[in-house]
C-alpha cells in the first residue's frame, strides 16, 4: 500500500529535504499508478512542537497531499494525511493508514487526526 510515515529528522536541512523527497517519490509512483496514498505524521509536528525540521516535514506533507488530492480527484485516486499523537494505539494508526490508502470512501485532501491532543489547538 502507498503509505509514507514521516521519519523524525534533526535540524540539518539535508535531512529535511531527503525526508520530503522520499515522500515525493512514493506519491509520484502512486499517482503514476493512479493509486491512492497517505502520509502519516505526528500531530505535534503539525504545530511545530518538536523542532523546525520535523515541523517543515509534517506541514510540507500536508500541503503536498492537499495539492495531490486536487490532481487525483480528476483520476479517481485520493491523497490524505493521518496524524497521530503520543497516546495513539499503533495498531489503530496502521488500520487507519491502510483504510485511507485503500478505499478511502471518497475522503480526499483531508487531515485525519487520531487521539485528543489536537482539541482546542490550531487548525493546520
Amino acid at each position: 500500500m502507498n503509505i509514507h510515515r514521516a521519519e523524525p529528522v534533526g535540524s540539518d536541512w539535508g535531512e529535511v529535504r531527503a525526508e520530503l523527497e522520499r515522500a515525493f517519490f512514493m506519491a509520484r509512483a502512486a499517482a503514476l499508478a493512479e493509486e491512492s496514498f497517505v502520509f502519516v505524521v505526528h500531530h505535534d509536528d503539525l504545530l511545530g512542537r518538536r523542532g523546525a525540521g520535523n515541523a517543515m516535514v509534517a506541514t510540507g506533507l500536508l500541503s503536498a497531499a492537499r495539492t495531490a488530492a486536487v490532481e487525483g480527484s480528476r483520476k479517481g485516486w485520493t491523497a490524505n494525511v493521518l496524524a497521530y499523537d503520543n497516546d495513539s494505539d499503533p495498531g489503530q494508526v496502521t488500520d487507519w493508514a491502510e483504510r485511507l490508502a485503500g478505499d478511502s470512501a471518497g475522503v480526499t485532501g483531508e487531515l485525519i487526526r487520531l487521539g485528543s491532543s489536537h482539541l482546542g489547538k490550531a487548525l493546520p
Binding site: R17, L20, F24, N54, M56, T59, G60, L61, S63, E71
Partner: protein, 233 residues
Amino acid sequence: MTGSIVVTGAARGIGRAITEKLAGSGPFSVIGVDIAPELTFDDDRILPVQVDLTSDDGTTAVADAVDRAGSPLIGLVNNAGITRDSRLVNMTDEALRAVLDVNLGAAYRLSTAMADLMSEGGSIVNISSRAYLGNFGQFNYSMSKGGLVGLTRAMALSLAPHVRVNAVAPGLIGTEMAMGIPEDVLEKMVAAIPMARMGSPEEIAEVVWFLLTPLSSYVTGHVLVAGGGRSLS
C-alpha cells in the same frame, strides 16, 4: 522602532514592494537581498545584497551586510521563491529539489542565522502562499510553502517571547509571475476571487508591515491568508 530589516527576493514583485514600503516608513536600514542582477534601488536607504541564499556563503554575506548597516537587526522577511510547476505525474526530481532549496531551505538557513542577531528582539515574516492549502500542478511549491508554515510555528515556539514569527499566504497577486499566465486562464482565476480582482504587491507589503511592527505585538505563529477571499469561494 529603529534598526535593520532584511528582505529576500527583493528585486521584483512582492519583495520589492515590501522593501520600498519599509524604506519609506521609518528610520530603518533595509537590506534587500536577491540573486537577480536587476537588484538596484533608487532609494539609498536600501542596501542591495546580490547573493545565492541556497549556499552558506549567501547567509554569511547577509550577516555581513547587517553588520555594515550598523544598527541592530529587528526584522527578516523571507520572500524569495521560485516555481517549477507540473502535474505530480510529470514532476522531475530536479524540480522538487530546486523549489524546496530556494523556497524552504534558504528561509530556514537564513532565519536560523538572523534570529541569533536579533539581540533586541524582532519579528520574522515568512511569505508562504495560498497554495499551501493545495493548488493544481504545484506539488513541489505547495510542499515548500506548507513547510514554511511549519517553520513559522516551530520558530514561533522556540524564539518566543524574544522574537515573533508569522507567515503571510498571498493569493493571486499582480506580479510578473501572474502576468505570465494565459489571459483566458487568468480571467477564470480572477472570476473565482470574491474581491473580483488580483491583489497588488503593495497590499501584501501592508500585511507584512502589520506583522513586522508592534501593531501585531501579541501575534506569533500565525498564518495570515491575504487572498481576496479565494479560500472560501
